[in-house]
Subunit: 73 residues, 2 copies
């Protein structure tokens, strides 16, 4: 399931860039440590569903839109 973290992180990064928000700004808005946000986007950590919701909320998108399809994994 390592692919999951990588695919999820990639989707978060893409959505953040589409929203023109810096990684630092997103981390601050979500109360997530800056270096941890980098690790999330690189797929190095398995985030909780609660963090997924906080990130989606700040990116003004639906949490489910950040979830990779099972067929991608």
């Amino acid at each position: 399931m390592d692919n999951l973290a990588k695919a999820l992180g990639g989707r978060i990064r893409a959505q953040r860039k589409a929203s023109r928000i810096s990684q630092d700004a997103l981390a601050l808005a979500c109360s997530i440590d800056r270096s941890y946000m980098g690790r999330i986007e690189r797929g190095e950590v398995n985030i909780t569903v609660e963090k997924l919701y906080r990130i989606a909320n700040e990116l003004a998108c639906d949490p489910s839109s950040l979830l990779p399809q099972m067929s991608e994994l």
Copy 2:
């Protein structure tokens, strides 16, 4: 965000019952401790996205179908 864990746990329980799988059997299939599965369904813990996928996989449903709407929270 306590509501999130409760709403997510409730959806997992409902989907499990619809699939006619016991909590113990689901826990075993997902390699999740039995008592922890109880805590998940009661919304006492914040699960990782990776566990969400493992549970959805065993319940043969889409992980996003288990996510509560933000408007529910």
